[in-house]
């Protein structure tokens, strides 16, 4: 298939950006979106033009490195699919495809389609863990976990940290990312001791960087792992409890 791309090019954070148009003829429908960009880059290099910078690594939809806005949609048109697993059979011959970096004020543009997502690490650092120093663990079967809880925790834990949820949100809110980690840990018995301390720390760090959630739900539909916005409800509830109740009592909730 023959395509036309409009790609955001920007030399650095403070440089001025612009769209550039590239013809992309002879694209195979079996290529992934990133392989299509590889092909465009090979052709640019052949013409002695600098290739388009984009983040990517595993190309299996699990590392969370990749992600661009494709025709205004985070990770493109296919539901539950990261950019690296989007294949060109989702497009039509003759399509014009607009490719932009994640759009969020907290994510500075590093170059072209690459942005700085380090605020996500700051949120995890604030409390996205269970404090279990190496060596102190009891036998793994000491604490049974209902299968339903383990499954629900796993659903939330599937987050790959790509930030599509934030890029898709009109407010650039970080609620889905933050709540997914909270739900993962809070649905397990091992996560209970730090539950209310954790939610305060993570939510308040999140708010340093990101906008507010106004329940658009764009995040869930952009999420390559289809993580549910139900997690946000759980987070809000826990945050309220943590804020309203005496912390000692909140732990008994």
């Amino acid at each position: 298939m023959d395509l036309t791309l409009e790609v955001w090019r920007q030399a650095g954070e403070s440089a001025e950006g612009r769209f550039e148009t590239y013809d992309a003829p002879d694209v195979s429908e079996d290529m992934s979106f990133l392989e299509m960009l590889d092909l465009v880059n090979e052709r640019l290099i052949a013409e002695e033009r600098e290739p388009i910078a984009f983040d990517h690594d595993c190309r299996e939809g699990i590392c969370g490195s990749c992600g661009v806005m494709i025709n205004g949609k985070a990770h493109g048109p296919q539901l539950g699919t990261a950019t690296c697993q989007l294949h060109m059979r989702q497009f039509e011959d003759g399509d014009r495809i607009v490719v932009e970096p994640w759009r969020a004020k907290a994510f500075a543009i590093v170059r072209d389609l690459v942005v700085d997502r380090s605020p996500l690490d700051r949120i995890i650092e604030a409390g996205g863990y269970i404090s279990a120093p190496t060596g102190a663990a009891p036998d793994a079967n000491m604490i049974p976990v209902p299968k339903e809880s383990a499954d629900a925790a796993m659903d939330a834990a599937a987050c790959i940290g790509c930030a599509a949820c934030i890029a898709a949100c009109p407010n650039s809110a970080g609620q889905l990312f933050t709540s997914a980690k909270l739900a993962h840990l809070d649905l397990l018995p091992q996560g209970q001791p730090e539950r209310y301390k954790r939610v305060e720390a993570m939510v308040e760090t999140m708010e340093e960087f990101f906008g507010s959630c106004t329940n658009h739900g764009e995040c869930e539909s952009a999420c390559p792992k289809s993580i549910s916005i139900d997690n946000i409800a759980l987070m809000n509830r826990d945050y309220l409890i943590a804020k309203l109740k005496n912390r000692k009592l909140a732990g008994q909730h």
Partner: protein
């Protein structure tokens, strides 16, 4: 070739007591003194992140470097199937000894008994540790942990978190490390790549890094350096490794004197999605757990183009079940891979390019229902459909082997220290535990064993000797020289001004290596490969085109440095494969096979670890570490 006995520092005594005795006999650093030591950890995969977290918890000052934008992105995250541990929860007769025995046997008797036994011993602790961290392992309805049997094992000892076990274990280790970042015990630097290991008077004293966003070259000194930088499967270009996975840290350490062991031991994973065209950038693995239920077959007839459903049972060849009745579809990876190659080479391959074999779920769907299969493998099936556009519930998957894991790596002793004092190597980057072939679900186990439960003990023994010594200052000439060399190197890559992209060179290199040093090797091909690699390297040095500058993100430049190191490694791989005149595990020399076409070892002459010395860039020298087997009886592997 010289015969030097490398000191593996393996303790003596009964194998089950060796690790405990060793822990007791080595020196400790007292808690108050630990903060006086700085340890650099490079890489934040399972081994690096778990080591960094554990060392920081003990009180060491830890500095961590990753070239990713976040520590969570390391390629451990892509491991699907599971992690082994000898918990014996299913009551099926597992034990540390059995896991040890299976691992040595699975590795075709080319690993160190003591290391493997220790791995099996600490495996149970890993599951406890990860569960405490909140890793959401699969559970049964009673709330206890679920196990499954996995590639080549006759007991169910594999713990898993859907098809995302690596992701969940890595997030556990990453989160434990981020907790230490929060507490100020770990200083984490992202987007920064190791470009050199700095050695003074034969001792590793620090590293030089390059900031990928600014191009700044910086020196960092420490009392010890830990490399946990993964494997070198991308030497083949097409592999299941992530695009950025590379050998650079290990290779540059090698050039500074660290021995590289068994580079020819590479693992080809039998269940990957076949390449669809020449633009394919990487191959995607489908978890081996699929072989628990799926049945592998090809049409009996050469060139049978009918859709799978139209080929009657009588015209199908379930070749693994036929050739290996005892293990059937669960034979080890190397055996399954070569068997698939044999079928495809006989023109019985399936799919548009005839480059795959069927992995069929029709029987288990009939037997267990689609719901159960969806529960077990749902995400894998979805992934397959996304990539191929085919629905594996309705038609068989197509699979073909692909490079997946490298058993070779930097030589390390029982303490995980390389032959350079102060330089440690963990996880896939070292050579230690898997011999010539790794068993399924053992990579995650080894990475976490090294990081959580081995290095935190063994590093103290080395550090205790340098109590009171400050690290070599970074304005020392040895650092300055390394910085200058690093900048010159980058400038040289930028100034070649040729016509070919770095990807072109990588692809061409990969073809040579895959063709001659892949699933099957022979002397003629390996010799040809060595000269072709050298010729291509000359072309690389004169015709590489890297556009742009070094002072801002330049992904072609980053890759050029990594591909350059693959050239050196690929040549060493071929030399190692050429010298090893036997077949074992992932190393199959066509000259050395049984009448049935199985790998034929030569225990008399090759029962050793081949540790290669860079030798200042002259012809590499071989050092041999003899392997002794006191507990495992060497046998021809048989899965019939």
């Amino acid at each position: 070739m010289t015969t030097t006995t490398l000191d593996s520092k393996v303790p003596s005594g009964p194998i089950e007591d060796r690790w405990d005795n060793h822990k007791f006999s080595i020196n400790l650093v007292n808690p108050a003194n630990k903060r006086k030591f700085t340890v650099i950890v490079v890489g934040t995969g399972l081994a690096g992140a778990s080591a960094a977290a554990s060392l920081a918890e003990l009180g060491y000052r830890v500095r961590v470097f990753t070239f990713h934008d976040s520590a969570r992105r390391a390629h451990s995250i892509a491991a699907q199937g599971g992690i082994n541990a000898s918990k014996n929860y299913p009551n099926d007769g597992d034990s540390a000894f059995r896991l040890f025995y299976d691992t040595v046997k699975g590795g075709d008797y080319r690993s160190r008994e003591s290391n493997v036994y220790r791995l099996a011993q600490v495996s149970a602790d890993i599951i406890d540790q990860c569960t405490a961290q909140g890793v959401p392992f699969a559970r049964d309805y009673g709330g206890l942990l679920a196990n499954r049997s996995f590639g080549g094992a006759q007991v169910s000892r594999t713990f898993y978190a859907r098809g995302q076990t690596g992701q969940q274990l890595l997030l556990g280790a990453y989160q434990a490390m981020m907790r230490q970042v929060h507490l100020g015990n770990v200083e984490l630097t992202t987007q920064t790549e190791l470009v050199d290991v700095v050695v003074k008077d034969g001792v590793a004293v620090g590293i030089v890094t390059r900031n990928l966003l600014t191009g700044d070259t910086e020196s960092h000194s420490a009392h010890a350096v830990v490399l946990a930088t993964g494997g070198y499967g991308n030497a083949f270009y097409l592999s299941t490794n992530a695009m950025k996975s590379n050998v650079t840290a290990a290779w540059r350490a090698h050039k500074k004197g660290a021995f590289f062991a068994n580079p020819c031991y590479t693992q080809i994973h039998p269940t990957c999605i076949p390449a669809s065209d020449e633009f394919q950038s990487k191959l995607t693995l489908m978890s081996e757990s699929l072989r628990n239920d799926g049945r592998i077959w090809v049409p009996d007839k050469v060139g049978d183009d009918r859709p799978a459903a139209d080929i009657p049972e009588t015209e199908r060849d379930y070749y693994l079940e036929r050739r290996y009745p005892a293990f059937g579809n669960l034979v080890p990876r190397d055996v399954a891979s070569r068997a698939a190659k044999k079928e495809v080479d006989q023109m019985k391959g399936v799919g548009p390019l005839r480059n795959g074999v069927f992995l069929d779920f029709a029987d288990p769907i009939d037997r267990l229902g689609e719901g159960e299969i969806r529960e077990r493998y749902g995400n894998l099936f979805e992934m397959y459909e996304r990539i191929t556009g085919e629905d594996p519930y309705a038609q068989p998957m197509r699979i073909y082997p692909a490079v997946h894991y490298t058993m070779g790596g930097l030589w390390v002793d029982y303490n995980l220290m390389t032959n350079l004092p102060g330089l440690y190597c963990l996880g896939e980057a070292n050579f230690s535990d898997h011999g010539a072939n790794r068993l399924g679900a053992s990579a995650l186990m080894q990475g976490l064993a090294d990081g959580y439960f081995v290095l935190p003990y063994t590093i103290g023994d080395y550090l205790s000797e340098s109590l009171g010594n400050e690290p070599v200052p970074t304005d020392d000439q040895v650092f300055k020289d390394a910085e200058t060399e690093a900048s010159d190197h980058v400038n040289r890559l930028l100034s070649i001004g040729g016509t070919r992209s770095v990807d072109w060179f990588h692809r061409e290199l990969g073809k040579i290596v895959w063709e001659n040093c892949g699933m099957e090797r022979n002397a003629e091909g390996l010799e040809k490969a060595i000269s072709e690699i050298q010729a291509l390297k000359t072309e690389f040095d004169t015709d590489l085109r890297v556009l742009g500058s070094a002072d801002r993100l330049n992904q072609s430049l980053d890759k050029a440095g990594r591909v350059e190191d693959f050239f050196g490694l690929a040549e060493l791989m071929c030399r190692d494969a050429l010298h090893r005149e036997e077949s074992c595990g992932g190393h199959f020399r066509v000259e050395h096979q049984t009448e049935d076409g199985e790998a034929l070892r030569d225990d008399e002459n090759f029962s050793y670890v081949a540790a290669w010395d860079w030798n200042g860039g002259e012809k590499p020298t071989l050092h041999k570490e003899p392997l002794e087997f006191e507990y495992v009886k060497l046998a021809q592997r048989s899965y019939k």
